[in-house]
């Protein structure tokens, strides 16, 4: 078993009477990516804050890079990078100066700081905007600058709190590629997300958090096996046909659930889509829309609740 870079045992955090984290344990081996999956309010940010020494736990212990997050906070901070849920950049400084500042605070000389900042601006495709104040950056650029800022010291462990929430699809893809590149260079990553597809693509293992508790964990494949793969959603033209459509689908071995004009059913393979269309057509049912959906976090929760 390789060295653990993140190790939380039974950590809890309460704010007044809100139990934001309730006995959470996770481990992340060196060089791997843990995806922390959960809806708003699940406790993702609280766990990240705890592991990055921003908040002390109410209970339990955690180690990052082998150091205790409470008693050896300084050592932890020397080894981690944090990209929080909200960009932490100095708007009145240029993007380049933001990075130089951090490099200098980490102990780089002026020359080294500038060289490292140039390198990162290049890597994050910000070279053209390097001398502009961060205030003028778009949301996606700001996120990239923020991520660049957390990489200045070449951290061993990187924490990314919802790195793609609010980004357009192409910026999102760009962010994924950057994370993949970092991982291939050996960085250990903990990332939080609300999207199963993101965790699926980036994470070696996934931990699902709900109301401060770990409700599932495993590899992406293991989780998806629990979720029951993908779903097909059929929208009908008329409400009077919903019942007949459900019957038709049940007859071909599906497990449809209806709500209003739409019927949702889990499927095993893409070709089931054709089977469904045929079954509905054979029964003379008018289909308004049919779509194959990737499982979402909601499906994970549903499957877990059903299990």
């Amino acid at each position: 078993m390789s060295e653990l870079m993140i190790e939380a045992s039974n950590v809890s955090k309460t704010f007044g009477d809100v139990r934001a984290l309730d006995g959470v344990s996770i481990t992340v081996p060196k060089g791997s990516v843990l995806g922390l999956l959960g809806h708003n309010g699940a406790g993702k940010t609280t766990l990240v804050n705890l592991l990055t020494t921003m908040l002390p736990p109410t209970d339990g212990e955690a180690k990052v890079a082998g150091f205790d997050v409470v008693h050896q906070a300084h050592q932890v901070r020397s080894r981690i990078g944090l990209t929080g849920q909200f960009a932490a950049v100095d708007e009145a400084l240029s993007g380049f100066d933001n990075l130089v500042l951090i490099a200098r605070l980490l102990g780089a000389s002026k020359r080294q700081a500038q060289a490292r900042s140039d390198e990162l601006m290049e890597m994050f495709d910000l070279t053209d905007a390097a001398k502009r104040k961060a205030k003028t950056y778009s949301g996606g650029m700001r996120r990239r600058l923020d991520l660049a800022a957390s990489l200045v010291g070449r951290p061993e462990v990187l924490f990314l709190d919802e790195p793609t929430t609010g980004l357009d699809p192409s910026s999102r893809l760009g962010m994924w590629e950057i994370v993949e590149k970092l991982v291939s260079d050996g960085t250990t990553v903990l990332l939080t997300t609300q999207y199963l597809d993101e965790a699926d693509r980036l994470a070696d293992s996934i931990t699902v958090l709900s109301q401060g508790k770990v409700v599932a964990s495993g590899t992406s494949a293991e989780l998806k096996a629990q979720v029951g793969q993908r779903t097909v959603t059929v929208t009908l033209e008329s409400a009077s046909e919903v019942h007949a459509a459900c019957d038709a689908l049940t007859k071909i071995g599906m497990h449809p659930v209806s709500e209003g004009l739409t019927i949702t059913t889990p499927v095993a393979a893409t070709r089931d889509l054709a089977t469904i269309v045929r079954a509905l057509d054979d029964n003379g049912l008018e289909v308004h829309d049919i779509a194959l959906g990737e499982p979402t976090l909601d499906d994970v929760y549903l499957a877990l609740a059903a299990a």
């Binding site: 300084h74 901070r77 400084l93 200098r104």
Partner: protein, 263 residues
Amino acid sequence: MATMTWQGTNYGTQLMVLTGRSLRKFFNTPALIFFSILQPLIMLTLFSQIFSSITSTANFAPGMTYVNYLLPAILVNTAMQSSLQSGVGLVTDMKDGVIARFRSLPIRLSTVLLARNLSDSVRTGGQLLLMIVFGVLVFGFAPAGGVLGTLAAMGLALAVGWALSWVFLAIGAWVRNAELMQSIGFLAMFPLMFASSAFVPTAALPSWLQAVANVNPLTYAVDASRSLALAQPVTGVVGALVTSLTIAVIGAAFAIRGFRRPL
């Protein structure tokens, strides 16, 4: 990729880099520079014009020009206003997430406050120098204390501002709300300024205001600064400095405690 990693640096470098950053931020924001000069300048202009004839009244020493009387008070007041901006600046940094970034770095948190205080003192020093230059060139400020007396008066104002900056950093670190800070600052400073010896000798005030002015610390700060500039028998300079130091130490202790609390 190069494999050089940095894991932190000494206190002195942290302080220098962070102070430089605050100053750079100030000089990067023209509106901030503009208003930090304009405000005391308006005050100097207005008061010196409105009250210019007041020096013929009995409460002023014969031959005293009003601008000589006023400028030391403007210095103290400017330093005081500037100290409020210190706290506001800290709160703004907290809101913008800059402080969140600093917190994730291996630096001592107290350096962030020290740097803020230091850079604001440098900025205040610049403001005070400008006011003196304006006073001399435009309004005929020519105090009996000469250059040395004026610089001493400025130094005293700076000490007061430095101490109050710790107070406002403490308030900022606990309150964490810029609008509230501005209101608290205004409410505290505005009456303090008028119920003091800043614009007229306390003897010229109605008796109830006189009573307030006599216990108002600002009166003592202004009197001390004025006595240096005007080469009068020096009153309360040591007292003002000791008081400033005490306030600064207490303010700093509270500021650091408040700042350590999670964001």
